[in-house]
């Protein structure tokens, strides 16, 4: 409403200001103000859209904020000590889209012979976007036969789930999966 008024005022002033005022029919004037009005709205929605994009951009690198980076470092230290995890060997099976963040099924499989001398010692699951990112810390033994676990997790929002596995010789591997969460599952 406010915008429309200013438009009309503006238009009126324009015509009043011209040295030789031309009489224009009401219709044409309305058409012109409509045009002006449209233009203004267009610019406004463009500005709004742009600011929304900027806000999203600010949220996106949440994983690299100092607090979460510290949490990640603490988690890694506790999970695998000073070992540097390499990519591979860890297969994380998660749905691409989880409709309900309260129970998201997942399967983890780590490639290993699981013999007495060479087996997967531990597997740690970390949800990067959860208020409490740790999910489980599992221990396996050669009796496990395969380093495989299937369970269900809670996910607060769309995020990456990272799995770190440590072998009996101390080497570490990691795998990752991205899940799109429709309804978050950590209570409000």
């Amino acid at each position: 409403m406010y915008l429309r008024q200013t438009c009309q005022q503006g238009a009126g002033m324009f015509y009043a200001g011209t040295a030789n005022p031309i009489r224009i029919s009401r219709e044409t004037e309305e058409q012109m103000t409509d045009k002006l009005h449209l233009k203004v709205v267009d610019r406004r929605s463009f500005v709004l859209g742009a600011s929304a994009v900027a806000a999203l951009g600010a949220l996106a690198p949440l994983g690299s904020t100092p607090a979460s980076a510290k949490a990640w470092q603490d988690f890694m230290k506790e999970a695998i000590g000073d070992a540097k995890p390499a990519e591979g060997k860890v297969k994380v099976d998660l749905p691409e889209i989880a409709e309900n963040g309260n129970t998201v099924p997942y399967k983890i499989h780590v490639d290993s012979p699981m013999s007495e001398s060479d087996y997967v010692k531990s597997v740690h699951v970390y949800a990067t976007g959860n208020p409490g990112p740790q999910i489980i810390d599992a221990q396996f033994t050669p009796l496990s036969g395969k380093a495989y676990v299937k369970s269900r997790m809670r996910l607060a929002k769309t995020q990456d789930v990272v799995v770190v596995a440590q072998m009996s010789d101390g080497k570490a591997y990691m795998g990752k999966a991205t899940v799109k969460v429709t309804i978050g599952g950590c209570g409000g």
Binding site: P133, K150, S151
Partner: protein, 107 residues
């Protein structure tokens, strides 16, 4: 509350890899939910650990965090070394332990 259910095959061959499934009914109160009436935070009460042994030897264990779904379900593999008993132990916040046992016969 806290009723365990486990699935272990009754019979298996020595050296065979079988899948063991377990579930325990538990709310897994995360400590982040608020009571809708009073607005107070409901204190955390989860099952924080699961330990599975076969004839006293560790097969699989896990520490659980609040991000584990309610009614925690775990399935894992087990390489049958012989006949024996599989014992599950769930530990709740506060130290209460719930146990379940299943026997397996190996051929």
């Amino acid at each position: 509350m806290a009723k365990p259910r486990i699935k272990v095959p009754k019979m298996a061959k020595v050296g065979e890899i079988v899948e063991i499934k377990s579930m325990i009914s538990h709310k897994m109160e995360s400590g982040r939910r608020k009571d809708k009436k009073t607005g107070k935070v409901i204190p955390r009460k989860i099952i924080n650990a699961l330990k599975v042994t076969f004839n006293g030897k560790l097969v699989f264990s896990a520490s659980l965090h609040p991000s584990v779904s309610a009614n925690p379900y775990f399935a894992f593999d087990f390489k049958v070394p012989g006949s024996g008993d599989m014992v599950f132990e769930w530990t709740e916040d506060g130290g209460k332990v719930i146990t379940a046992k299943k026997s397996l016969k190996a051929a």
